[in-house]
Amino acid sequence: MLWAEILDAFVGTLRDIFPIVTMILVFQFVVIRRPLPGARRVVLGFVYVIVGLSLFLVGLEEALFPLGRLMAKQLTDPSFIFGGIGHIPAIVHWSAYYWVYIFAFAIGFSTTIAEPALLAVAIKARQVSGGAIGIWGLRIAVALGVAVGLALGSYRIVTGLPIHYFIIAGYVVVVIQTMFAPRLIIPLAYDSGGVTTSTVTVPLVAALGLGLAETVPGRNVLIDGFGLIAFASLFPIMSVMAYAQISGFRARRERSRNPEST
């Protein structure tokens, strides 16, 4: 039973990685026409990636996802939210869903910390920046962005406000921040929007969004159920630029306070 699941995940990962490996081989041997440097190690590395990703996915499916999905359902269930009243009011005040916002924030933060793609980018960023951008600093900044994005996205679903108001306002903030942020961080900040939502976050977030849109009175699953991922991809851009601005500001203050030490 479990072995079948692991095998399934393994085959699935192989199928995902197959076009990439084919392409790399074609370019390496047909276009560049040179053997791969350190081929043995690289092949072993690919085997590790496939094995690792398969185990990771099966483990999530066994441990976190069923519980997370169940929770998203229970937390949005009217009998939990209006437990004492016994009936569902026709017009719901958005603050009744406070546990949902807290859950969205907490699950967004914690799953982003565990996101492998983000870790990959953080490793590269530290290496390229010569250690100026720490792995943990970047991960926590991105995780905070995802957390705020998901909490706000849940609020949007509960209130039913149109998604593009929020996204466009977010774009305006990003553009303004770009003018003041240190130049070095800008491309990395823009990238962190896209890397946050892959393996871990998307399935949980989708369950939360659809659960909310189904149970909040007056919401349409089709129009209101989507959009959480968009929030989770937009807010890390702001939080990473803010992180760079704050650490730049602190470094400047530190310098002005004790000028001899620098």
Binding site: R15, I20, F27, V31, I32, R34, L36, P37, R41, G45, F46, V47, Y48, V49, I50, V51, G52, L53, F56, G59, A63, L64, L67, M71, L75, W99, I107, F109, S110, I113, A114, P116, A117, L119, V121, I123, K124, V128, I163, H164, I167, V174, V175, T178, R183, L184, I186, P187, Y190, D191, G194, T196, S198, T199, V202, L222, I223, G227, L228, S233
Partner: protein, 245 residues
Amino acid sequence: MPQSLKVMARSLLGSLRDLSPAILVVMFFQLVVLQQPLPNLGQLLFGTLLVVLGLTFFINGLEMGLFPVGESLARALARKGSLFWLVAFAFTLGFGTTVAEPALIAVAEEASEIAAQAGVIGSSGQAQESYALGLRLTVAFAVGLAIVIGVVRILKGWPMHWMIAAGYVIVVAITAIAPREIIGIAYDSGGVTTSTITVPLVTALGVGLASSIRGRNPMIDGFGLIAFASLTPIIFVMIYGMVVN
């Protein structure tokens, strides 16, 4: 070898630490907020063990396989000096990794159901399937194009923020005229396109390229490819929604 065992143990501990916030959050909500017992504790522990092992293997494999391959290919292509092959590589990388992406397949299916319910396309299974396939090809093309634009940007050293700002303006302009049902899906499709395998490879491509071209800073010019890949699908999915309409 005790040395490599030590390294392995350290990275296992690191993975456990990465996962612990998620475990704590789930336990807190289950036990304190919802006040339910933990179901299948054994299964939960075993699943956590698998996740920790998987994360450890993945990170080690990343540094041994995906990163060096991405960078050495980018360097070799840059040395070759052929714009055609570089652009071809960029497009295939974007298109090839996206068209089979499971998250995208799921989103495309949901979108086709929505389109059928909104009466944009026929409600027959065939009409929905061709709509979903069209959507997948659209997004894959958009990501391929995004990586090409990003690579050309690295070669030319154009500043990133002007291009992203222009992309935002296009998104906002198209939002105003796109059918309302497609907007949520379009915005989401930007986030789901970049998978766990694509991200390290694309990052290595950008950094490798920027560090092998004189006058480029890998920090300023090397990053940013994923940002383009998250922006263009939003635009193209909305256009797709309008064209099919």
